[in-house]
Structure formats: structure tokens, C-alpha cells
Amino acid sequence: MSPACRPGTAAAAAVVVAVAVGLALRGLARTPASPVVEGADAPLIPPRVRAWYRGVLTPLEEQLVLGRVHPDALTAAQLVVSVLAGVAFWKGWIFLAGWLTILAGTLDILDGGVARSGGRASPRGAFLDSVADRCAEFATFLGLGAFFRGSWVQLAVAIAAFASLMVSYTRARAEGLGFALQVGRAQRPERYVVLGFGGWLSGLVAHLACPVIGRPTHVVLAAAVVVLAVLSTWTALRRAQDAARALADRSRP
């Protein structure tokens, strides 16, 4: 559990976050609208938000390319940050863990971007990135499971972890069989956002509500884990269904 209630620091953090959200909304309004995919399988994060976040990261990406930072170094950094996020979840440092999860997701975007912009994209890099992604996810879920030990939420963590791996596995297997599978509401960026923002917000709420409740409570994080478990399971099932249908169509004479 968190060492103490710190509502003052949490209020200061909330003000900074509110300013950042205000600036983000202004930036989002300036971002050109992208074609929106609609329906039950549309990703949770709209293309406009993705385009805005990529725009925020572009100057950083350019500096990393200019500084000749190798994409593998960013992949390694993402793995390390994910392990730290797992440790932070395990220790009950939920605000920090949520923020580290968001940072890991950002590094995941940056490594691919730097590889493409710097002309260093390769099948080896893509393979290493995928392997590191799975290890990173496992480390974060492991910490989350340890935090919720003895609670029913631990089951939701286990389901979310299994379903997240299945989302990636169904896509990889389908691609191996010659199909591109990119449908689903809870793809990797969505999983980072739900878990990262869930933790971040949960940490803030826990410290702000602490003087009233008397102890830190992480209902928001539990809700985020349940949402992640449901969305990831739905995405894995939809991908499996789509792949099975496409394979049946292909084998039909």
C-alpha cells in the first residue's frame, strides 16, 4: 500500500494534469481529422488522437534520429521501464506505475518511428520488438497480479494477461498463414492507455479521497483491469473468428 495520504501533492499533480489536458485538447482541435473506422471492431483510440500523439512525439523522434540513437536501445528501454512499472504496481506505487506504463507505451511508439525515420527498420528489429513487447506486458501484469493478491481482481488480471497475449498471438499466427488481422478494440496502444491511465487516475483519486475515506483505495484501477480483461477477450475472440472465417473461405473450392 502507499506509505501515506498526500492530498496536497495529488492536488498539485491534478492541476498540472488539467493544464496538460487543456493543451492536448487545443492540439487535438488543430490536428486534421483522419478517416474514422466505425463499428464494434474499431480501435478504442480514434485515428485523430493517434495522429495528434504522433505529432507530439515527432520532434523527439527527430532528435533521437539526429542523435543516432539505435531503435534497439529504445526497445530495451521500453522493456526496462515495463519491468519498473511491474515493480511499482507490486509495491503499491500506483500513480508512478501508471505513468511508467504510459512511458513504456510511448517508447514502444518511438522505437518503430525512429527505426523507420532513420532507415534502420528490419525484420530482425521487428522480431525483437515483438518479443520485448510480450515480455514487457508480462512483467507489468505480474506486478499488477502481485498488487491484487488475495482479491477477486487477481482473476481479472490473469484473464487480461492471457487475453492480451492471445490478441497478439492470433494476429501473429494469422499473418503466418497469410492474413493481415488488425481488427479489435483493445490493440496494444489501447491496452497501454487503459492500464496506464487507469493506474495514473487511480493513484490521484486514492490520494485525493484518502482524507475522506481514511486509507488509499484503488477502485479505479480495479475497474480499469476489468475493462481491459473484457476488451482484450473480445478482441482475441473476434480476431480468431475472422481468421477462421477467412481460412474457411480460402479452403472452399
Binding site: S2, P3, T9, V16, P59, L60, K91, W93, F95, L96
Partner: protein, 72 residues
């Protein structure tokens, strides 16, 4: 000062400053490392503030340029 370079610096300082700010708040809220958290909040605040200042300056200069050439 080269304005493109200043813009690039601002574009890097804003997200990195915000990253440091949030790490600092995280350390202050959740861990016993209060001094390190305070240091990161200070450094992050300076960086994000400088990045925002460069953004505001660039926008105001951009507007002035747009007016001088008749806009779009």
C-alpha cells in the same frame, strides 16, 4: 536565434518536461524518495515551462508573419 532549432527544442522540452514532472509527482506521492521527487518536479517544471514559452513565442511570431503577408 534559429527559429526552427528553437521550435525543435521546444517540441522536445515540452514532453520531456511533462515526463519529469509526472515522474517527480509519482515519487512524491508513492515512495519515500521525497527529495528526488521534488528535484524532478523542479527540473520538469522548468523544462515544460521553457518549452511552452517557446511555443507561445513561435505562435505569436507566426501570426505576425501571416498578417504581414496577407494571411491565407
Amino acid at each position: 536565434m534559429n527559429h526552427d532549432a528553437a521550435h525543435a527544442r521546444g517540441g522536445v522540452w515540452r514532453p520531456v518536461g511533462f515526463l519529469l514532472l509526472m515522474l517527480g509527482f509519482g515519487l512524491r506521492l508513492d515512495t519515500p524518495w521525497q527529495a528526488l521527487g521534488g528535484l524532478l518536479i523542479f527540473a520538469g517544471g522548468l523544462m515544460a515551462g521553457a518549452g511552452l514559452w517557446l511555443l507561445v513565442r513561435r505562435r505569436s511570431m507566426g501570426d505576425a508573419f501571416a498578417r504581414a503577408t496577407g494571411g491565407e
